[in-house]
């Protein structure tokens, strides 16, 4: 997650005697693409049910299938899609829907920055395609791969990213469609209203790794509850920055105390 990882010399030292590294360097782009796809399989198990749920929940919130697909193809960002659908069904003002949906995606600017040292030589259209498919999973797998094998050629790096991106994004889009289609068959009266909150909570829980994350989360919750009386969505717009600032302050404070995270 560090923003600009310079290729580290110690990795190159280790390269000579690690067979996995030698294999990675010997791959043709087609093999690197396949390797990326294969390494994506465990993450696909998370992506598919999540996308199914998005399709179902968005349909429940009143979207039609075209709109569900619009979200999954054009936005292609789970948390942000869920956020927008939730706020739309709350009748929040459009500006607040968009700001909140974008806020959830701001972390991707970090991903973008941290890929620059590895993909700086790519062409403009390659970079645009990478940007389109830059989701949590494609970022996490690629950056791990690049840092582990710093001597890969640009073509190998691009092919690996493409393999991961196809294996992650295509199932996301297809499963959203399946969710929206199957969702029409779910009878009324089942408590689907709570699918969205449960999904959000499940996404939040693994993020609570440090004291700073816990503090950010806690302040955001307290502020959101305290401001719940404000017009729809406005409380969120105040509570979220308060939580973010708390996280940043606690992180600085913890670092100064010397024990970091």
């Amino acid at each position: 997650m560090s923003p600009s990882p310079a290729p580290r010399p110690d990795h190159q030292q280790a390269a000579a005697d690690d067979p996995a590294v030698a294999r990675a360097l010997a791959r043709t782009p087609a093999q690197a693409f396949r390797h990326g796809m294969i390494q994506s399989v465990p993450l696909m198990i998370v992506v598919v049910p999540f996308a199914l749920l998005f399709g179902i929940v968005a349909l429940e919130a009143g979207m039609d299938i075209a709109q569900v697909m619009g979200f999954s193809v054009l936005v292609l960002a789970g948390a942000s899609q869920f956020t927008a659908v939730q706020l739309l069904s709350d009748h929040a003002p459009v500006l607040i829907v968009i700001l909140s949906g974008l806020a959830v995606n701001l972390r991707m600017a970090m991903y973008s920055a941290s890929l620059v040292p590895w993909l700086r030589e790519a062409t403009g259209s390659q970079k645009a395609l990478i940007a389109y498919a830059l989701i949590d999973q494609s970022y996490a797998l690629s950056i791990q791969h690049y840092e582990k094998h710093p001597r890969l050629s640009l073509r190998q790096r691009l092919a690996y990213f493409a393999g991961v991106a196809v294996a992650m994004c295509v199932p996301w889009i297809v499963a959203s469609w399946v969710g929206a289609t199957v969702g029409q068959a779910i009878p009324e009266g089942i408590a689907l209203d709570f699918a969205m909150p449960i999904t959000f909570l499940a996404m939040i829980a693994p993020m609570l790794r440090t004291v700073a994350h816990l503090a950010a989360c806690f302040v955001a919750i307290v502020a959101a509850l305290a401001l719940a009386g404000l017009p729809s969505g406005l409380g969120l717009l105040i509570a979220a920055p308060l939580g973010m600032a708390t996280g940043a302050i606690v992180e600085t404070w913890m670092e100064r105390k010397g024990d970091g995270r």
């Binding site: 069904s89 968009i98 974008l102 993909l119 645009a128 940007a131 209203d193 909150p197 449960i198 909570l201």
Partner: protein, 111 residues
């Protein structure tokens, strides 16, 4: 879309969100290059999801629309189960399952 939000509004949100998200992802790769981010910006970015999502979800858990805004034991326990399993297992899907099972179990038990 029903419920008073027009189709046009939904499409407007989808398209603006799509373009905005693309620009966020493209920012450094495509335009800003190696420019280092100031430390405080990085710190704030790190905490966006963990601040935005809880702020969004907290009122939904406390005052669910399905119960006309009354706190509901089934939904509160489902939320607690989701969080607990999520924190312990770090597994999103397991956490969702735990929440779902708790919700339907409690709704069934409480009638």
């Amino acid at each position: 879309m029903n419920g008073g939000v027009s189709d046009l509004t939904v499409w407007f949100v989808i398209i603006v969100l799509g373009i905005g998200t693309f620009l966020i992802r493209w920012s450094f790769l495509g335009a800003l290059g190696d420019r280092p981010l100031p430390g405080w910006v990085l710190r704030m970015l790190r905490y966006t999801p963990v601040a935005v999502l809880p702020a969004l979800v907290a009122p939904l858990v406390m005052w669910p629309e399905a119960t006309q805004g009354q706190p509901d034991p089934a939904r509160l326990s489902a939320a607690a189960a989701t969080l607990l399993v999520g924190v312990l297992s770090k597994n999103v899907i397991l956490a969702i399952l735990a929440g779902g099972i708790t919700l339907f179990g409690m709704l069934y038990v409480l009638g």
